[in-house]
Amino acid sequence: MCGICGIVAVSPKVESSPRVEQLWAMMGALRHRGPDGSGYFVDDHAALGHTRLAIVDTANGEQPMCNEDARIWVSYNGEIFNHVELRAQLRDRGHEFRTQCDTEVIVHAWEEWGPDSFNRFNGQWAIALWDRAAENLILCRDRYGVRPLYYTHAAGRFLFASEIKALFTAPEVSREFDPVGLDQTLTFWSPVAPRTPYAGVSQVPPGSFLVVGQGSEELVRYWTPEFGEPDRSAAGDLDEQAEGVRERLIEATRLRFERSDVPVGAYLSGGIDSSVTASIIGSLTDVDLHTFSLRFTDKEFDEGSYQRRLVDRLGTNHREIEVSERDIAEVFPEVVWHGEHPLLRTAPAPMFLLSRLVHDCGYKVVVTGEGADEVLAGYDVFREAKVREFWARNPDSAVRSRAVELLYPWMARSPNLAPAFSAGFFGRNLSLNDPALSHRPRWDSTAGLKSMLAEPYRVATPSAAADELLATMPAGSDRWTTLGKAQWLEMSTLLPGYILASQGDRMLMANSVEGRFPFLDVELGRYASELPSQHKILGLDEKHLLKRGFADLVPDEIRHRPKQPYRAPDAASFFAADSPDWVGDVTSADAIEQSGVFRPEIVDRLLTKVRRNQGRGLSNTDNMRLVAVLSTQLLSGQIQQRYDAGAPPVPCGVFDFRTRSRRPS
């Protein structure tokens, strides 16, 4: 896992040759992504930079790397897990290799197959390819958006980088929030690619590549999640399908554990997803498995008893970190700095602390369970979709609304409250023709968040974010099942924008740790997308095929425990008696006015409410409003001030490919 960046001259009218000093500054901003070394390539038109976290073929593999005739250059962040198989195919076709790195496979694959290479890769990547002959830059991201890739334009140059902070090292790049990006963030928890929270800064969408030439840019989608039409005549056998999931997940996990030249650890949350991947390694191999867990001092969020059950069963070498509200408040500014996006939850903060533990234990790679909920249908929103569809088939029914009580146990225990809540929240806009039947109640309930925005950042049409997203759904998606549509929406919003980014890549890479995600394996994903909806969620039993397929490896207490979404203390973290000074600083009337993002009177009312009970007992919406204000205010200050303080540190061990010589820093 690494950091990549680059500069390409795209305007013949101005002096726009890439400046090495600028590239170095960008590389310096990405040092945490690649502390093991760095390198750059530069010619008259392009410069590629790289900071390396050495994981595969650690002795070799400096980047940027080129093909046999030095025509194709690559700077790459990620892993191609099937590089061994691809290397064999490319050797058969006459390609010569100098290293055992997956990086080298990329340049030869591009020579041999061109853009079709991306369809052959099984992995997680952000790739920059510079074709010297064609004078084209190709930027590509993996299917699900595991690895980030941003770009912008400044003074006749095209700039790209793994993180936005590297782009902001260029003084010409604007550092303003984008109203549409903010609106999307408050609706979906993240902007939808190619948008970002910042005006003028874009990201390559997952499953896409961008071709940048002289005065031209072409964005090509090489992959998008696809789901089948309902085919009830061929629903198939539950046990066979569970076995199919099992086989593919075991292989996906094996690939991610074996294809590394440094030890690989595993996260263990106490939920079924990480329990399955850890159990595959712990039970089916003889490796000395090291596991890492997050604990909370607040028992409401703690899953320690489930983690311990699996640790005892597998006999892993286990480490854990216990996180308090105070810990979250203390690291939150750093979390926001690394995350670069406004947040609605503090949940990334404990993940930052967990990856720090992994780093401190000498590990660079962990396998985690992210992606299981999207690929195998685990989220509550999917169950809600089934209930809303059931209700929408006969909205006048006297009993269908009661199915809402199946979703959340507290509803069944609150007979007086449940009917009113279900009618008010889950019963709104019940239309079988709505492609967002699943998500509409949640999206519609974000008005309270958006009402905080000051006029320059308010979007005229309240439904703009949803409308723009739904307009991008693939042709033929109207024939997908309701669950298929809901999965597509999750895979287009929360997964790449928040789960894999704010809470994933950024929190891992902040401490130079690579995450690997077996549930996002291409073969598993392909198989799962073709499974019948009624089996992925059997009745309302989410991830049923996963639970069924691993009944022998995962204890019943974990397989059948009520789903507990990963969460951390929110407002209460910031308003205890010993809250850190920065909280008062960023929420002062002057700070709110200076950033200009929020309406001062609304923030003032929110803060009064929050302080009344030291952040406790707040509604879900108020918790999100508070975290949104804190994170956005922090960002506003960070992007305006931090880069003015001086240039980032110069990377060490720079390799200048123009002279083919190693240069000291």
């Binding site: 009830r232 005549s233 539950l238 059931f390 029914s397 199946l406 059997l538 009745g539």
Partner: protein, 81 residues
């Protein structure tokens, strides 16, 4: 009326319902009505039908045998439209 097709057209038996699978649906709740509703969700997904309120209860959907009887009634044309 016990059933209607979603399209409102003629009723045809599209597939057999696997009652052994149905028996695994709704086992997490002790509430008879909620269990019946979860089973109804599954039945409607599999058979592409809309059940009337008349049969959304534990008596009609509480056991696989009861569901089988209901479907047999439907298949014989006694309960559909």
């Amino acid at each position: 009326m016990l059933f209607a097709t979603k399209s409102g057209g003629a009723i045809m038996m599209p597939v057999q319902l696997d009652t052994s699978v149905l028996a695994q649906v709704g086992t997490e709740t002790d509430d008879p009505l909620l269990r019946a509703l979860e089973r109804a969700i599954y039945i409607e997904e599999v058979l592409d039908i809309v059940l009337s309120d008349e049969v959304l209860n534990d008596h009609a959907l509480g056991t696989p045998d009861a569901v089988a009887t209901l479907l047999a009634t439907w298949a014989s044309g006694q309960g559909g439209r």
